[in-house]
């Protein structure tokens, strides 16, 4: 645990530094735009081009800010042994932080934006690891170009269900049958059992389902 606290503390500190870097980039871009706005009429033929470049800089600041904010929250996850967190937020966090890995596999994860607030009390590191393990399995067994929709809800038994479903199901049947034989799946099962929860794979409809038990429902 000391090791994860160490990793988390360093990562959180670095996200603070990244925020400072982004702040300087934003102000510098903003100052350029301020000067550009002082140029009257057509006195500077690259005015529109510069506006576009400054706009691109701002877009990247916004992108970097969102990533570093989520990375900071991720880095703070070892701070408590048990925490109450919003499942859709956890999903979004892991989707954004894994975006580069998914992009490399040409796979897109999309979360259901209408889930509302679904609180779960659990081990903050293990729950994130489980979500990532589910995504990682799917990244390895889905085909490039596929989109995976992630839906979260609370069922009648107060279990929290996370369902990952592949859009073009006809292509995944064979690959999904291999998942349960993989070491990745065994690792996922180990994590899900440590959370007193369950995981299911359904090759016929191309879904991976996690049934999560909140600590306050045990």
């Amino acid at each position: 645990m000391k090791e994860t606290l160490f990793m988390g503390r360093i990562t959180a500190t670095v996200t603070h530094e990244i925020k400072n870097v982004l702040a300087i980039i934003r102000e510098s871009g903003g100052l350029m735009e301020d000067f550009l706005n002082m140029v009257e009429g057509d006195n500077f033929k690259y005015k529109d081009r510069f506006h576009k470049i400054i706009s691109n800089i701002e877009d990247q600041v916004v992108r970097g800010d969102a990533i570093s904010t989520l990375l900071n929250r991720f880095a703070h996850s070892p701070d408590a042994d048990v925490a109450s967190e919003n499942v859709p937020d956890l999903l979004d966090q892991m989707i954004v932080l894994s975006a580069r890995l998914a992009k490399a596999k040409e796979i897109v994860f999309k979360s259901d934006k209408d889930s509302g607030v679904i609180l779960i009390s659990s081990d903050p590191i293990r729950i994130r690891m489980l979500i990532f393990q589910a995504m990682d399995v799917l990244m390895n067994y889905c085909k490039p170009g596929q989109t995976i929709l992630v839906n979260s809800k609370v069922n009648d038994s107060k279990l929290i269900t996370l369902e990952f479903s592949v859009d073009s199901k006809t292509q995944v049947l064979q690959e999904f049958e291999q998942i349960i034989l993989s070491d990745q799946w065994k690792d996922l099962i180990s994590t899900v059992e440590s959370l007193d929860s369950k995981a299911f794979i359904n090759p016929e409809n191309g879904t991976l389902r996690l049934e999560l038990r909140s600590n306050d429902n045990r």
Binding site: H16, K19, I24, E27, S28, V61
Partner: protein, 121 residues
């Protein structure tokens, strides 16, 4: 806003200098300090209307500087800047007397709105 004077305190000098220039272009007189000790010295002579203060600085932290300002110059409102991806430190600052807080990277229009609101209070 012409007579408004703001003190900007941040150890990230490039950030402070650039933001100060942008505030001046918008008619706000702005002075800069790059650490807490310098800020507490300048505040006596310059008498700013508002202090914009970074929380995480070497030497005296922003919260320590805030405590001193609240003690010695209770009439000067302080707006905290935090680079941390949570609101925890900002809220902690408001509990010990900060007027408001903003997350870095800031939007200058939002900062000016908060400066105006702080002066009106």
């Amino acid at each position: 806003m012409g007579s408004l004077k703001v003190m900007l305190v941040d150890d990230e000098q490039e950030f402070a200098i650039t933001l100060a220039e942008r505030l001046r272009m918008r008619g706000i007189e702005t002075i800069t300090a790059f650490d807490g000790e310098e800020a507490l010295k300048l505040i006596v002579g310059d008498k700013p209307d508002v202090v914009v203060l970074d929380i995480m600085m070497p030497g005296m932290s922003g919260l320590q500087v805030l405590g001193k300002i609240a003690e010695i110059h209770p009439g000067i409102p302080v707006i905290l800047l935090t680079g941390i991806g949570s609101t925890t430190e900002g809220i902690a600052g408001m509990k010990i007397g900060a007027h408001d807080y903003l997350m870095k990277p800031i939007q200058i229009e939002e900062l000016i709105d908060k400066i105006r609101a702080a002066v009106k209070k």
